[in-house]
């Protein structure tokens, strides 16, 4: 098994990831202040910063969607049930015995099946829930402000509760995510890859000769 440096995270991808990380952290921090969990900036400034960061995140998401579609990278996130059990088994048992990762990371398949399903649901469920409820939160008064009674939204309650639910799910995701990045080949290898773009992976071509059975799993 020969290991080689592969360029797996492109520069835009890394920029998108870290920008998104900063914005989501900042949105959560100001958001839970608005929610009343603690006070730090003061309510007024928290609202102001939260709204600015929200617009920045929306612009970033628009760029990211364009990038994923135009490069075809969105295919990485299409969920699969294959190997989910193996991946779960690895995190629950294998990891303690220093067993190898059940799925091999490659440039064409960067995500393991659990990651695929998690990121996919973030992208199609949690983030849209958060963005939609957030936009409604900002604009729900506009119809009645401009005299359009027909589509007037009477109460903020459901909007606010859905927004909170999305925020809590994101916080839980971030906590888990932060821990799971330490489960790479070494504790910091995943972090390094997301910072530099390069990660040391097994050479596909090399593997195909030595372990043909394993390698087919990753190419799906």
């Amino acid at each position: 098994m020969i290991k080689k440096q592969f360029y797996i995270y492109k520069s835009f991808e890394r920029f998108w990831h870290w920008m998104q990380a900063i914005l989501i952290f900042f949105l959560a921090f100001t958001g839970f202040e608005i929610h009343g969990t603690y006070s730090f900036f003061g309510f007024r400034d928290a609202v102001r910063y939260h709204n600015i960061a929200a617009y920045m995140l929306i612009i970033l998401i628009a760029f990211a969607i364009f990038w994923h579609l135009s490069t075809g990278e969105y295919k990485q996130y299409i969920p699969t049930l294959k190997n989910i059990k193996a991946q779960l088994n690895y995190y629950i048992f294998g990891i303690f015995r220093n067993a190898p990762h059940p799925t091999k990371k490659s440039v064409l398949s960067k995500l393991n099946p659990l990651q695929k399903i998690t990121y996919f649901s973030l992208k199609v469920l949690v983030i849209p829930l958060s963005v939609t409820s957030g936009l409604l939160y900002i604009f729900y008064r506009y119809p009645s402000k401009h005299g359009v009674e027909a589509i007037n939204i009477k109460t903020l309650e459901f909007i606010a509760i859905f927004h909170t639910v999305a925020a809590i799910l994101l916080v839980v995701f971030i906590i888990t995510h932060l821990y799971l990045i330490t489960t790479g080949d070494t504790i910091t290898s995943n972090l390094k890859a997301m910072l530099t773009g390069y990660e040391e992976l097994e050479d596909e071509n090399d593997k195909k000769i030595n372990e043909p059975k394993l390698s087919t799993q990753n190419l799906d």
Binding site: I34, H35, G36, F43, R48, M56, I59, T155, I175, Y179
Partner: protein, 525 residues
């Protein structure tokens, strides 16, 4: 290269966005500049009354002055005699009651209770002369008191307990020569002292408003724009705009801030959106009774204690009456945070003769209507005045006792200190039954707070309402308020989800740590 351009373009966009939103626009809105220009211009009167021949005659009675006024202003009496200030009642339509006539003449309040039978004393604040319980004066235009509103010498004063007549020692010629637009002193002499003393009733209208500083009222401050009452309470043909909901129930002829400041006076869009549901006063009047205390509680049930057969008065630490034998005990407060309620401009009143449905709860004498879901409603600040006042537990009616009389033996409480005879005499005046039993009932009155507007720097801050602890709006629970409200299920569920995740991760990490160490040892062996 393309990627670099893309990233630079994105960062550029973010910078433009951030600069655009973060940069402070510190110019003042143009409406404010226009208003300042408008109200700092000094208006010159178009006539000098002191030059008119008809005002040179020697006046010995106030009615002579009125006649002289009417010799030129010969259609004005009609306007005045149609006004609320003259009639002490107005035509109002009330849901469920139809058209009623409501005013000082017949409404019951929880201060001195009512005017019927007490006219001679109460008429000190009527714009007429010679009021009595028969109501004769209402048809005679020479009984109009022009001077109480139009005197500009600030020397005119009504005599106590004379049915509205002035002190006869006044120099009527000097006063008549001075007449002009009403000043704060003209309005304040009645409106600041309602209820029998300074700031008893309103809380936001009191003698500090004669010459207020900017700290008391930003609009009327003598070192500021120095607005007079009638600058906002614009008047057409003696019909003055604005009303007080102790006596009004319809949403018309109201005065509001928007008539000068527009509905979107802020630079900040989020603040402007608040005006859909929050009245300006809610944020811009953080406290009332700023200079002198106002009466918050009046307990009639303790009245009547005598010292050696004589009535007496006790004072609290601020020098306000805390007990009077003729009125009972009081609680006064200063610098008060208002209560907040939804209000759509309509009110329903307890009227003379209404049966009290539930005597176990405090009776609201002027219920201000409104709710979150009502599009006409906004949150307004109010003073809630609580009282314990006499009621008939058998007939379930509020009692309007006879309070004032010249001498003992006529049943007046302030002379005889007997609730039974005072109630009997008072209810007889109203043509209402009295069972012979007097009990005391807790009542509430709601006084909207509209004056004592603070400078914008001192307005209520976001986190005084948008907070879980001690929110100013803690009492309004029919809507979701960010920062104050949350779903207990979501918050508790979320908290446990986070805690369990962290615990799970810790356990996982610990097992990982020890199993790696074990594996490491095995390898090294």
């Amino acid at each position: 290269m393309k990627k670099v351009v893309l990233i630079l373009a994105f960062i550029g966009l973010l910078i433009v966005l951030a600069v655009g939103t973060l940069s402070q626009k510190d110019y003042e809105p143009t409406t404010l500049i226009k208003l300042k220009e408008k109200f700092t211009r000094t208006e010159k009167p178009s006539v000098d009354h002191s030059k008119f021949a008809v005002l040179q005659q020697k006046f010995i009675s106030p009615q002579q002055v009125t006649k002289a006024c009417e010799s030129c202003h010969n259609l004005t009496a009609h306007q005045v005699m149609n006004s609320n200030h003259w009639n002490w009642e107005r035509e109002e339509y009330v849901e469920g009651r139809g058209v009623i006539y409501l005013g000082k003449r017949n409404a019951i309040n929880n201060f001195c209770i009512g005017t019927k039978g007490n006219e001679e004393s109460c008429a000190k604040c009527h714009i007429g002369y010679g009021m009595d319980s028969k109501g004769k004066i209402y048809t005679d235009s020479t009984n109009i008191d022009c001077l109480v509103c139009h005197d500009n010498t600030e020397t005119y004063a009504k005599a106590p307990e004379k049915g509205g007549l002035p002190l006869m020692t006044l120099d009527f010629n000097k006063i008549a020569a001075s007449v002009g637009k009403p000043k704060r002193s003209n309005c304040g002499v009645c409106h600041f002292f309602g209820g029998g003393g300074n700031n008893v009733k309103h809380g936001d209208l009191e003698m500090a408003m004669f010459e207020p500083s900017k700290d008391i009222d930003i609009h009327m401050s003598v070192d500021g724009v120095n607005l007079q009452c009638v600058d906002c309470h614009t008047t057409e043909q003696h019909n003055i705009s604005g009303k007080v909901y102790s006596l009004s129930s319809m949403s018309h002829n109201r005065n509001n801030c928007e008539q000068c400041h527009t509905e979107t006076p802020h630079d900040d869009d989020i603040l402007n959106e608040h005006t859909l549901k929050v009245a300006c006063q809610s944020c811009h009047i953080p406290t009332y009774a700023k200079a002198n205390a106002t009466k918050m509680y009046w307990d009639w049930s303790t009245a009547g204690k005598l010292n050696d057969g004589e009535p007496f008065i006790e004072e609290d630490s601020l020098g306000n009456h805390s007990y009077m034998s003729i009125k009972g005990s009081f609680v006064w407060k200063k610098n008060i945070k208002p209560d907040y309620i939804w209000f759509n401009g309509t009110a329903s009143h307890y009227l003379e003769g209404d049966k009290i449905q539930d005597t176990t709860k405090p009776l609201v004498l002027n219920k201000l209507n409104g709710s979150y879901l009502d599009d006409e409603s906004k949150i307004i600040p109010v003073k809630i005045h609580v009282a314990k006042q006499p009621f008939d537990p058998v007939n379930k009616l509020l009692i309007q006792p006879k309070l004032f009389a010249d001498k003992k033996g006529e049943g007046a409480y302030w002379k005889d200190f007997n609730w039974l005879t005072a109630s009997e005499a008072g209810m007889k005046e109203l043509n209402l039954p009295f069972s012979g039993k007097v009990s005391f009932l807790k009542t509430e009155m709601y006084w909207p707070i509209n004056h004592m507007v603070a400078a914008k720097e001192n307005s209520v801050q976001c986190n005084e309402c948008h907070t879980r602890n001690d929110s100013r709006l803690a009492g309004l629970n029919d809507f979701y308020l960010p920062g104050r409200d949350y779903s207990t299920v979501v918050d508790t569920g979320g908290k446990w989800l986070v805690i369990l995740t962290i615990i799970g991760i810790l356990i996982h990490a610990i097992i990982r740590f020890f199993s790696y160490r074990k594996l490491g040892k095995e390898v090294s062996k």
